[in-house]
Structure formats: structure tokens, C-alpha cells
Symmetry: C2
Subunit: 274 residues, 2 copies
């Protein structure tokens, strides 16, 4: 896949963002590892991105728990797909995951979740809140700082989309961050009560993926959340299968959603793909 991996010395565009390594992938995508305020991340930019034509950007959310290294292959695959549409992608390691320190109260919340699941009772609202809201509260400001830093790069511009990860994070970010103009969400994690209220305030186009038989997900909650979005364009795509069984064509449909909303017409060139 990649050809070279070398440390990148020299200045970075602002104090908080430090590039630590870069490699040119065989499809022309430039992959740069970075650290932003102590958080590890990756930026992928298409060969078409230049200072005179900066690329739109997709923020690739990550689920809680797995960490950047385990998520890397899937994220890189999605980033390279987006690059074919001329779109850059970036990800940040999720708070409390991978190499990051645990979130306060997370162990207790997970133990309470296991207890509720073992008992066969519905998961109590306060357990969901304690499990998800600290992650939302920590993640959203990090994504906003990342946007400040990434959009200051010469080859990255807007518009910006948010894709995947923890759905409550995507909802909050879509509400508070005006630079996010499209949200592709995965209904595969617990939804705090407050997220339903926040969803009513989302106005950007939304594309929600739902795995119909997701063993760890509440289908009715996902349908209710979709119903709550205030957006004038919203699409729910439900596919047969469990949490990790998203079919390839669903990933392609999500990529087309972002291409439709983020890609700017090329001056004097026919649009590619889709």
C-alpha cells in the first residue's frame, strides 16, 4: 500500500498541530500522522488537493473503545475512497480509547451496562448518559479544534462533513459547529435522551446507516432518532445484518452522499464518479 514512512521535521501550521510522519500511498493519497493537543490523528489528502484548490474535508469519527490503531485499516479505506472524489479525510483518536487515558466514570458506567444487559432489562437512561455523554463533551471541542488546525492547512478547505463514530457525537457536532454541512451517521451506539432533543436542532443533510439486526443497538431508538432530525434532507439506509456487517454498497452510498454535498464542481472538468 504505502511506499515511504518518514518523520516530518520543521514547522507546522499552528502551535497545536504537529505532523509526526507522512507517506505517499500508491493511489497518490498523502497520509500524514499528526498529534493535536496531545491527541493522535491522521490526515489523508487526495493528489488533487493544492493551495489553489484545497480539498473539502470529512471528519472520520471513531467508535468508543477500539482506538486509532485498531480502527486504522477501515478508516484508511474510507479515506482513500473519499479521495477518489477529491475529498480529504481526517480522524482523531476517540477520548478514552486506544492510547488515551480512560474517561472519568467510564469503568463504572461500563460495569453498569454489563449488569443491565446480563439482567435482560432495558439499559437505564442514566447508564447511557454516563456511558456516552462524557465522550460527547470531550470529543466535540476536540473536533472543533481539529477543524481550526486542519482548515488552516494550505491544501485543505471546506465544506466539511462528519462521518460515523459515536452517533451522539455527530449529532452534537452538527448542532454546534456551523462548518459541518453534512452528517453521515451510523446508528450503532446508545443514544442519550438529550441527543434526541439535539437532533431536532440539526438542519444539515443527514444520511443515517442502520444495521437492521445490530445485536448491540436498539432499532426503535434509531428510528426515533431519525424521525427527530430537523433536517430538510434526511435519508435512513437500513441493511440486513449485524453491527459489523455493513455491506460494501452501503459504504459507497454514504460516499456518494458526501460527494453530493462536499464536492465542488471542477472548473472546466467533468465531475468524476457517481
Amino acid at each position: 500500500m504505502g511506499t515511504t514512512m518518514s518523520p516530518v521535521p520543521g514547522p507546522t501550521p499552528n502551535a497545536a498541530l504537529t505532523f509526526t510522519a507522512e507517506q505517499q500511498l500508491d493511489d497518490g493519497v498523502l497520509e500524514r500522522r499528526f498529534v493535536l493537543d496531545g491527541v493522535r490523528g491522521v490526515l489523508w489528502t487526495p493528489a488533487t488537493a493544492t493551495p489553489s484548490r484545497p480539498a473539502p474535508l470529512i471528519l472520520l469519527g471513531q467508535p468508543g473503545g477500539l482506538g486509532l490503531d485498531r480502527m486504522y485499516p477501515r478508516l484508511a479505506g474510507r479515506a482513500r475512497h473519499a479521495a477518489r472524489d477529491g475529498i480529504a479525510s481526517a480522524t482523531l483518536e476517540t477520548p478514552g480509547s486506544g492510547e488515551r487515558s480512560p474517561l472519568p466514570g467510564a469503568d463504572r458506567a461500563r460495569a453498569d451496562l454489563r449488569g443491565a444487559l446480563a439482567s435482560g432489562r432495558p439499559v437505564p437512561d442514566d447508564v447511557v448518559d454516563r456511558l456516552v455523554l462524557p465522550l460527547v463533551d470531550r470529543s466535540v471541542p476536540e473536533w472543533r479544534s481539529a477543524l481550526d488546525a486542519l482548515l488552516a492547512l494550505p491544501d485543505v478547505g471546506g465544506p466539511v462533513g462528519f462521518s460515523g463514530g459515536v452517533i451522539a457525537v455527530g449529532v452534537r457536532l452538527a448542532v454546534v459547529e456551523p462548518r459541518v454541512v453534512a452528517a453521515g451517521l451510523f446508528a450503532g451506539s446508545y443514544v442519550p435522551r438529550s441527543t434526541f432533543e439535539e437532533a431536532r436542532r440539526v438542519t444539515v443533510p443527514v444520511h443515517v446507516l442502520l444495521q437492521w439486526d445490530d445485536e448491540g443497538n436498539d432499532r426503535q431508538a434509531a428510528l426515533a432518532l431519525f424521525d427527530a432530525f430537523g433536517s430538510s434532507e434526511k435519508t435512513l439506509q437500513a441493511n440486513l445484518g449485524g453491527h459489523t456487517g455493513v455491506p460494501a454498497f452501503a459504504g459507497q452510498d454514504a460516499a456518494r452522499f458526501f460527494a453530493r454535498h462536499l464536492r465542488r464542481p471542477s472548473p472546466g472538468a467533468a465531475p468524476t464518479g457517481g
Copy 2:
């Protein structure tokens, strides 16, 4: 759009199918009007369809009530889109619609439906049955006869998909007709109880479009029907909007569903589109 419209004399491939007019559209699509056992229909074949390379076929269902002439512009648009993927399309006027004689009991069933809707009560099951099942019972054998006739043409082959129209017709046809290998259904009409049972016996890939705010459709029934399909590949795509507000991108996604399942790889050529 079209250039010429002329009667077509001469023999037709079997006794039941008579071509009545044909025109070459400006994108190379050949549009042929026909009558099959007294029922009017239209066949659209792409320029790429030849006897050595017959085109796959999509059967374009029609809703009840409107008739071929009112449906023509939408159907022709979808047929021309499919032709870009090398796929032929054909439609038949729905029993009881347009120029066709009313189905027995239809006036009474529609009056009962209006009464139920006016009263604000749920529509009784027997009203749905009397409204929809006669249409299913009449339509499905007609589609099967049409397949016999159309697949006998030199430039039309399989595989075959069914698209749109009355969802109970599509479900029945997918169960009983082995030549139908993919069904793109529109959840926009009443669903008889027996259709839920039939859906469990559907095994071909299914792509269901649902308009989330369809004023004349029961969202919960649509979700339950999707849940019932026995297919190992099934996708529900729900979009914001009313019955007639299917967004253009949803039509494109449905077209890609058919291209994925019907299009055969071109010998020595890269696949087009998608």
C-alpha cells in the same frame, strides 16, 4: 426527446405481443409501444442491446389508478436511466387503471376506504384486501405472460428485476416468478395481511424505498414488511418527504441496485457508471 413515431407492420415474436409503434429516442434508446393480450405496454431497449448481447430487463410497475398515459413521463425517465446501464425496461398498464376496465368490487372498496379515512379510523383489513388483492391476482399473471413474450425477443434477455408500482404485486411476483432476481419496491400503498406472509418467502435481493412522511402510507406497516422479507440482502431507504417527493438521489440509488444485480460484465470492457 423522440424523433419519429411510426406504426410497425409485420410479424411479432409471438401471437400475444403486437408492437404498435416505435421511436428512436435521442439517447439511442428504442421505445416500442405494444399490446399484449389486450393490455397496453411500452418496451425501452438500450442501443447496446443486440441479439448477440441481449439486455437484462426491469419490469416497471405502475401504481393503481393513474394509467399508462399519466405515468409515461416518469416511467420513460427511469427506463432511459436504466438504459445508460445497458438495461431494458418494460411496463404494462395496471389492471383497472387508465384505459382498462374497472376491477370487480373496486368502486365499493374505494368508497369503503374513503369512509374509513374520513372517520379517522384505521383502514380495516378487509377493505385493504378488497382494494389490493384483486389487483395482485390480475397483475401477476400478466407480468409473467409479458416476461414470456419479452424474453423471446432477440435483444432482450435476463436477468429480470421488478421495480416500483404496487408493493403487494412486487412481493407476489418475487415469490412466484423465478426469473425475477431482484425487486426494487416502493412502500407507498396499502399492504394486505397475506403480503406480510408472502414477504417471508421472498429470497431475492430487495431494495425498499419509503417516503418517511407519506400521507397515504402506514410507516409502521412498511417497516414491518421490510422486517418480514426473507432475503439475505435487503435494504430500506427512507427519505424525508411525502408520497410524490422521492428525491432524485434515491432514484439513482435504486438504479444502482438494479445495475448491481442485473448487469452482466461486458466482455473485454470496463463496467460503465456506478
